[in-house]
Amino acid sequence: MNDYSPLLWIALVVPAIGAVLVAALGPRRGDLVRWAALATTLLALVLVAIFTIRFATAPPPLPEAPPDRPAWAKTFHPEMETVVDVLSLQTGRDHPAAIRFYIGLDGLNIWLVALTAVLLVPSVLVSWKVVTERINEYFAWMLLLEAGLLGVFLSFDIILFYAFFELTLVPLFFLIGIWGGPQRQHAARKFFIYTLTGSLITLLGVLGAVLACYTRTGELTFAIPRLVEIVQQQLASSTGPDLEFWRSVQLYVFLGLMAGFAVKVPLVPLHTWLPLAHVEAPTAGSVLLAGVLLKLGTYGFLRLALPLAPDTALSLGTPLIGSLAVIGIIYGAFCSLAQNDIKKLVAYSSVSHLGICMLGMFALNETGLGGSLIQMINHGLSTGGLFLLVGMLYERYHTRLMADYGGMAAKLKLLGVGMVFICLSSAGLPGLNGFWGEVLSLMGIASVKNLSYGAIAGQGLSILGVFGTLLLLGLFLAGRRSLERDWPVLLAVGVVAVVWGVIYRRFLDQMDVGTYSLLKWGLRHLLWDAWASPVFLLGLLLLVLIFLWGRRSVGRDWPAVFAAGVIMVVWAEIYLWQNVWGLGVIIPGEAVLCALGATGVVLGAWYLLTMLRRVFFGPVKEPRHEGPEPIRDLNGRELAALLPIGVLCVVLGVYPQPFFDAAQRDLKVMADIADAARGRVETRLEVRAAAPAPAGEEMR
């Protein structure tokens, strides 16, 4: 596959060169600047598409393991590599350069690279008319941002990764600070400082990991695959004080790396920069910030924090990050609900959605990791799409307040259709992309590997989340239509739910989900066994009751919906407890996480649909707008920006197989790493249970 490797660095260099050219064109030649920027992003997209398709159509198998490297299977094996020496830190000529320009492609970064290239095109299109001031600088910064983002994802050298990670701050700082809203200066600086502080601590984590490998093996390397291999090898073979050393190192490395990535994701106590930055950023800035930049955090966890500190990721990461993620899911959803500003609503929804992504990731099994990975892409597409649509609405009426709008679907038909579609995708409607991320993430966290007996209930629960979404959809439709005719609506929802279930079951039976058998298994059990299970019936019954209640309080439907979510979860919990208590096992924390995460799915549908109802349905209420020309529906340029995203949402939702096929090998590697850690941690717990160690030992 090496014949494709130049494409990678060309794709990296093209936006950078484009940025310089665009900047050199000057602010006067507006149209030339726009077309040049569009051409650059399209060229980058074509390049990325070529190597992505090449990789995805024939995902490479694991290379043959050299006999002297036992940890060979537990590391990354990037394809299409380019390696250039940068700096040798050691003396003597026989040492290889420690820091290198090392880029490549594997299952974990391929789709994120593609996402970046895809989202840049609508970002340029949506800025076409909006940006009039300093236009050459604007597009130059945007193209530089693309180069930086591609660089982060493609890097396989840890310092190169870090350098690109920090360099992405600079373009976005200017994009927000110059072309943003009224509070742009404050937002830009807050964004910059928050992220920089976190990432500087991450630098220490990076150095710590490199140095730990160096002091234990004498090999000074900054190549991520080699570092991961050394860590796995050392962890597998160390005993006594060496093992203690590695345990304590992992804790510090994990905490260090976490500092920067957690700010970027963002996990809840560190998220305060995000709503401000999102709201103040220009539309394209928001699209890229939500669509790609937040993924730098999740990707950082996946690429560095998990494999370089697997034991800590398991023993500390799952409880800590899992809890923070769940808090983020619920907190973000409630914050979204409370907003009157549509853009802020979407911004908070990112906190919620990426919580699900992190939850799935720290399930540390293939299902969860796969769900987490696809959730990254889904969130990029659907939230990117939402920001695009909100931007287009704002461009027309210059207000983002929901109270100013009403019944816009009648006025702007295409925009309304687009908004409903993207909202449903974002809410995880089966058949669209969002579904896979949410269901797989929740199933991952509740899988048998983490809790032996709660798995069925946990998976049932995650499906209930989806059904809750469907029922909310029913509420939404019912609220829209006349109240007298809501029984057929309920029936329709039920039918849709069952039909979807059956179709999916059929579909899954035929589809080779490969290692995603858990999903197949879970859905089948839901539809056969769990069909009869009390929790499901009771949940459904309650939902019917709530729906009836909701019919009478359409204007004030939120307590009903909230109750729906809570009661479903409570019932599932009871079911779970029964199962688990019956076997004399304490309820595992992961089940609680899963249950709460499932609530978040329901809440997610709730705020999105509420927004839809308030803005796009009901009696028409148009904000006052100045200017002679009438407000028109989406034009060709805007449709061109939105269509690719919509198509990708459907494709990913209906047929996600190629996505998983390309990523499968590396997800398996990650899951193997986590399994090895699971073995070590369990052994340690057993040893400690046999001979109680002094308190606080684990923290050392």
Binding site: Q90, I159, L169, R189, L204, L207, T215
Partner: protein
């Protein structure tokens, strides 16, 4: 003394300092010539030519063979790799500062200004070569005394007078402290030759050193701490920087810092001779390089580094005056560099740059970015539109897009954004602090390693604080509208200086210059190469 090698060493130093002799001679010509003719172009040209010739002479001077121990313990001057690096650094810095001052210096005082600058360059360069306490003291005074004149030369207002008085008194005081420390050193080692002193102290072994060693250490660090503007010897910096021209502030931010750090490296034995290192390996000596005056050296620098960078950064946050802000920033950067000194003794076994090497690298990149930032201020500063506060730069990206871009490069480098020399320097310093080895069998090494990791953490948090005020300048330049219209007058010498600084700032962050300078820094600090 009767050893012929010793006598030879005492005689042979003259050719080694030819470039410095040339610089001082040229300075004399300038001082005298200035009384007959005025003109910045004439004397600026002469100064540049002198620096070029000095560089040429330095480049053509053959490297002397590695001195034998007898020569080493007698020679007042050493031309080793460290000396060459410092020489290069000070000549380059001098050339940039000449260009910088070209338009700033009054026509009538140009000759004196450049003459003083030449002496300072010679003094800094000589500091790097000193192998004798007396030589070192002389070299340091050669950087101080012309500074007094320089501070007094261009302006006669109250602020300038206050600045020069303050600097003069504190500088003299610090020299006295240092001299006091030197006298104790002489008492301890019985010699004023630094290599011999290191040998003598190094083979004594720690623990048996008298308390006088500690006195000497504190006095020397206090005296040199003034020059590098370390807290609590930094008080002069903000007032002096604010009270003087941008060109002089840049000079003060660069040369005394280079001289101070190099002097610390020399006198505290951070750059030991090979013989001492071998003795260490063989167990004949027990003292790590840099710890000659007791193991408290490292603790002292740890505390100094932490306090200096924290106080410098926090106080810089509060500043509105640009020069004051950059003064505190220069204090903060001294703090980062002190990390290198604190950690250097423990990196004996680590085959990677991190301690003194990182400081040498940082000095170069710090010089480029700080002189560059001052030069931009100087370039924009006109009598009609003085640049005093941060707000005076508002909307610079609209009125002077090029200047704003260059200033942004310097500021991002000061923050430590990758692809700049500032990042590479910080990376090396933090790398050093993180790489203190842990011997699993020895709990005390664990303790040391942990302490230095905490120092690295303090360092990165400080870098984040620092980002706030640098970013404030970037935000003012790019995110605000211009207050007053731009006025155009190109001043090519200053522009050239800014250009050189910008190129260096970026070049030091990317190969090949990055690798070259890291290599040169490594070569400058003798170390036992472990094969492997």
């Amino acid at each position: 003394v009767n050893n012929p090698e010793t006598i030879q060493a005492l005689k042979d130093w003259v050719p080694l300092v030819l470039p410095e002799i040339l610089l001082v001679a040229a300075a004399c010509v300038l001082f005298l010539g200035g009384t007959f003719r005025t003109g910045r172009h004439l004397w600026g040209g002469v100064t540049l030519a002198t620096l070029a010739v000095a560089a040429l002479v330095a480049g053509l001077t053959p490297r002397p063979a590695d001195p034998s121990p007898a020569q080493l313990y007698a020679a007042p001057i050493l031309l080793d790799n460290l000396a060459l690096l410092v020489k290069g650094l000070s000549l380059a810095g001098g050339a940039v500062l000449v260009l910088f001052a070209w338009d700033e210096v009054p026509e009538k005082q140009a000759a004196e200004y450049y003459a003083c600058l030449l002496v300072i360059v010679a003094g800094t360069s000589l500091t790097g070569m000193a192998n004798e306490l007396i030589t070192l003291f002389l070299a340091l005074e050669m950087t101080s005394i012309p500074t007094y004149i320089l501070l007094y030369l261009p302006r006669r207002d109250n602020a300038a007078q206050e600045a020069s008085m303050k600097y003069f008194l504190l500088s003299v005081f610090s020299s006295a402290l240092m001299l006091f420390g030197f006298s104790y050193l002489y008492g301890l080692g019985g010699t004023t030759n630094i290599a011999a002193l290191a040998r003598a102290l190094g083979t004594v072994g720690s623990g048996t050193l008298p308390a006088a060693a500690l006195v000497a250490l504190v006095m020397i660090v206090a005296g040199l701490g003034f020059r590098i503007a370390a807290v609590p010897f930094h008080f002069y910096a903000p007032d002096v920087y604010q009270g003087t021209t941008a060109g002089l502030a840049a000079l003060l931010a660069f040369f005394p810092k280079v001289a101070g750090f190099v002097a610390l490296v020399r006198v505290l034995g951070f750059a030991p001779e090979h013989g001492l290192l071998e003795a260490l390996m063989l167990g004949q000596a027990k003292v790590y390089p840099g710890l000659l005056l007791g193991s408290q050296v490292s603790t002292l620098f740890w505390i100094l580094a932490a306090v200096t960078m924290t106080l410098g950064n926090v106080l810089a946050l509060l500043q509105d005056n640009l020069k004051r802000l950059l003064a505190y920033s220069s204090v903060a950067h001294a703090g980062y560099m002190l990390i290198g000194l604190a950690v250097a003794p423990y990196l004996r076994d680590v085959d990677a740059p991190g301690g003194v090497e990182a400081i040498l690298f940082y000095l170069a990149s710090y010089g480029a970015m700080t002189i560059g930032a001052f030069a931009v201020i100087s370039y924009l500063n006109t009598p009609q539109r003085p640049i005093e506060t941060v707000d005076d730069l508002a909307g610079l990206s609209r009125s002077h897009p090029g200047m704003a871009l260059l200033m942004m490069v310097f500021l991002f480098s000061l923050i430590g954004i990758p692809l700049t020399g500032g990042f590479a320097g910080k990376f090396l310093l933090f790398w050093g602090a993180m790489s203190v080895p842990v011997d699993l069998g020895d709990p005390s090494t664990l303790e040391h390693a942990r302490l230095f990791r905490i120092l690295a953490l303090i360092g990165v948090l400080n870098a984040a604080i620092g980002a706030w005020y640098y970013l404030r300048i970037v935000a003012v330049m790019y995110l605000r509208n211009p207050l007053r219209p731009a006025e155009g007058r190109r001043r090519w010498p200053t522009l050239t200086a800014i250009g050189i600084c910008a190129v260096l700032t970026i070049a030091l962050g990317v190969p090949p210059l990055l690798g070259l300078l890291v290599g040169a820094s490594r070569d400058a600090v003798p170390q036992l190469r472990k094969e492997g």
